[in-house]
């Protein structure tokens, strides 16, 4: 899995930088972004690819009003009805929507693993 992460990060990095060398335009900055139209299905698909997860449940307006989203494990419960993970030491996973030029990316905040969010429109988040 670490190899997959490395591939993902490398591919993303190449995607962000590889073609820029051919351009004389100033390098666009990677900035926090917002979706112009809600598209939780595409965001969920991107995150499941980053996480290699089978399912991610998001609000319909994810990344529409905020550039970040925090995930947590579903609330699995034990036979007594209490959460299995009642005592968590880890930080929850956070993802952020980024924009570079016209392209939108979903980035895992901690690992920086990144994936492009294709066929969506996003804009720079003026609040960030």
């Amino acid at each position: 899995m670490n190899i997959l992460l490395a591939i993902s990060m490398t591919a993303a990095t190449l995607g962000l930088t590889g073609c820029l060398a051919q351009s004389s335009e100033p390098t666009p900055k990677l900035q926090h972004a917002l979706l112009i139209e809600p598209n939780s299905a595409k965001v969920a698909d991107a995150i499941t690819q980053l996480l290699h997860s089978s399912q991610v449940q998001l609000t319909d307006d994810v990344f529409v009003t905020s550039s970040t989203v925090t995930l947590e494990q579903l609330n699995h419960k034990d036979p007594q009805g209490n959460p299995i993970m009642g005592k968590q030491l880890n930080m929850p996973d956070q993802f952020e929507l980024m924009i570079k030029g016209e392209r939108c990316f979903v980035r895992h905040l901690d690992s920086k693993a990144t994936i492009e969010l294709k066929q969506v429109l996003c804009k720079i988040n003026p609040q960030r």
């Binding site: 991610v56 998001l58 007594q80 880890n90 690992s111």
Partner: protein, 520 residues
């Protein structure tokens, strides 16, 4: 198939290296280690290869060997596992179930009640913090087998349930025409489960409830949707003529941090002298958030003190065997962490505090894990806890879910101690006058009172809160409510008989097992 997230990414390789170190040192111990027995399969009792040698090798014998070595490396009570030949137990999960202590607590209860496994693809599913499928009501199963009894414990605001005025105290009678209380048909129980535990949005279900306050029946049709929970609710600063504050705290999830920050700012801006925290349905979550709550309660009384010291097995006195990081005690966290990014509150922002020397907590058996850590952590800092309600669940333990061959395993790996080195509360905390003698909880000041579903949470006449207020005035308790109290309901213990379970991976049900009589 490892979870591809920050935690697992960091931790994937560490167990291998640490296990290799262990193996290099001759492996872990067991009662048989000094007198090993070897059979024809190559198993030698008390001798453990590194778990890394078997990781990801998905033949049953290798999966079992991985479990055996991994348990020996990281299980909190590894030296209480009876080491048996993995070849002699047929199933992998069956073998996993043998890899735990069989010792009992002083009360005679099993020492380890928290040994689980799940299909990894089920475990890997995640949701946005605070989000779930449902209707917006939380329901408590009082009796799981016929005659069943279930009651709404509270509702989330701005949900289908709250919009139809479903409130705490509504008792469930029917689901989609099926008699919830009496049905003995497994197919009808299936209808109940499908209705109660929707797996997607748009599920339309008809419920019949009875309001236990008025005895009137209500038929409502609800459509499931994404429910955004509100883990901090009903903040009040007006109790006892403004001397007492109150809030309901339901989950230590990421979105709770901002809500706690706002709640304590509101409380700090008031003139309250005492605080009641209602954690009766809080099963825990982020431990550091518990330490934040401890700081926001105790403030200067917690300065320089440890909230909780995490303890792994004695092979790792100084190092977290999963992360490889040095073990450092968790202080009372006095800053905003940013579990969920909030542009309005920068991580590191100082938290408000009430600087209290005592706090009232309202509890039930659903008060668990990180919620119990608040109690234990504050007690360690000499902040007095006054407990009103029923005994807590008794779970000072935790684990790092670990994947191998498409199964995720949960085995107790750590426990916690407070500033005074105390952490033995596996039978929970209970008010001093608790009459239930089936367990041997840590008894602390307060009153045993059964949960009262006849009043809304935060209502000053609700039994737990009203007892807290009267105890504050006169220091005395009403006659202790037993589990058979007619005033309210005390949670039953779920049986492990044949069952119909909520098969969803998230649920708003606090005791999510319904038994079908004909399946016994």
């Amino acid at each position: 198939m490892a979870i591809f997230n920050s935690s697992s990414l960091k931790y994937t390789l560490l167990p291998f290296s640490l296990a290799a170190l262990l193996a290099g040192c001759g492996g872990g111990g067991s009662d048989n280690a000094t007198n090993p027995t070897t059979d024809n399969s190559g198993w030698t009792s008390g001798v453990f290869a590194s778990s890394g040698q078997f990781k990801g090798q998905c033949q049953a014998i290798n999966e079992k060997n991985w479990l055996r070595s991994w348990s020996n490396e990281t299980y909190l009570w590894y030296d209480e596992i009876i080491d048996t030949n993995p070849a002699l137990t047929s199933g992998v999960i069956d073998y996993f179930n043998t890899l735990k202590t069989e010792q009992l607590t002083e009360s005679g209860a099993k020492k380890d009640n928290f040994h689980f496994s799940l299909p990894t693809d089920e475990w890997q599913r995640q949701n946005q913090s605070g989000l779930s499928f449902g209707y917006g009501f939380n329901i408590k199963i009082i009796a799981g087998s016929a005659p069943r009894q279930a009651v709404v414990s509270y509702t989330e605001p701005n949900t289908p349930a709250s919009n139809q005025n479903i409130i705490r105290g509504f008792e469930l009678l029917e689901v989609d025409g099926v008699d919830f209380i009496n049905t003995s048909s497994s197919s009808e129980v299936g209808i109940i489960n499908a209705g109660l535990f929707p797996e997607q949005t748009g599920k339309v279900t008809e419920f019949v409830f009875r309001d236990i306050s008025t005895n009137e029946n209500r038929t409502v049709t609800l459509t499931s949707q994404n429910i955004e929970s509100q883990p901090v609710m009903n903040v009040r600063t007006d109790l006892a003529a403004g001397d007492v504050g109150y809030f309901q705290f339901n989950s230590h999830n990421a979105i709770a941090e901002t809500q706690l920050y706002n709640a304590f700012n509101q409380l700090a801006a008031s003139s309250i002298k005492d605080l009641v925290i209602d954690v009766r349905y809080n099963g825990g979550g982020l431990l550091q958030m518990a330490s934040q709550v401890g700081y926001m309660v105790g403030g200067s009384n917690t300065q320089g003190k440890i909230f909780e010291r995490t303890i792994f097995n004695d092979k790792y006195p100084n190092t977290n065997p999963v992360t490889g990081q040095a073990l450092t005690p968790m202080p009372f966290t006095n800053r905003f962490v940013g579990f969920e990014n909030n542009p309005a509150i920068v991580a590191g922002t100082p938290l408000p505090t009430l600087n209290l020397e005592r706090v009232f907590v309202l509890t039930t058996s659903s008060t668990c894990s990180a919620s119990e850590a608040i109690i234990n952590g504050l007690r360690g800092a000499d902040v007095e806890i006054i407990q009103i309600g029923a005994g807590t669940c008794g779970k000072p333990y935790g684990f790092y879910p670990t994947d191998n061959c498409d199964t995720t395993y949960f085995t107790i790996q750590f426990t916690g101690e407070n500033n005074k080195g105390f952490g033995e509360y596996s039978d929970g905390f209970a008010p001093q006058n608790t009459i239930d003698d089936a367990r041997q909880p840590v008894r602390i000041a307060g009153c045993a009172v059964a949960d009262d579903f006849t009043k809304r949470l935060g209502d000053a006449s609700e039994s737990l809160l009203s007892t807290a207020l009267s105890y504050r005035e006169n220091g005395s308790c009403p006659a202790p409510s037993s589990i058979n109290s007619v005033l309210g309901f005390a949670p039953t213990i779920a049986t492990d008989m044949p069952e119909v379970k909520d098969m969803r991976v998230q649920t708003m049900l606090e005791q999510n097992i319904i038994l079908s009589d004909n399946m016994r």
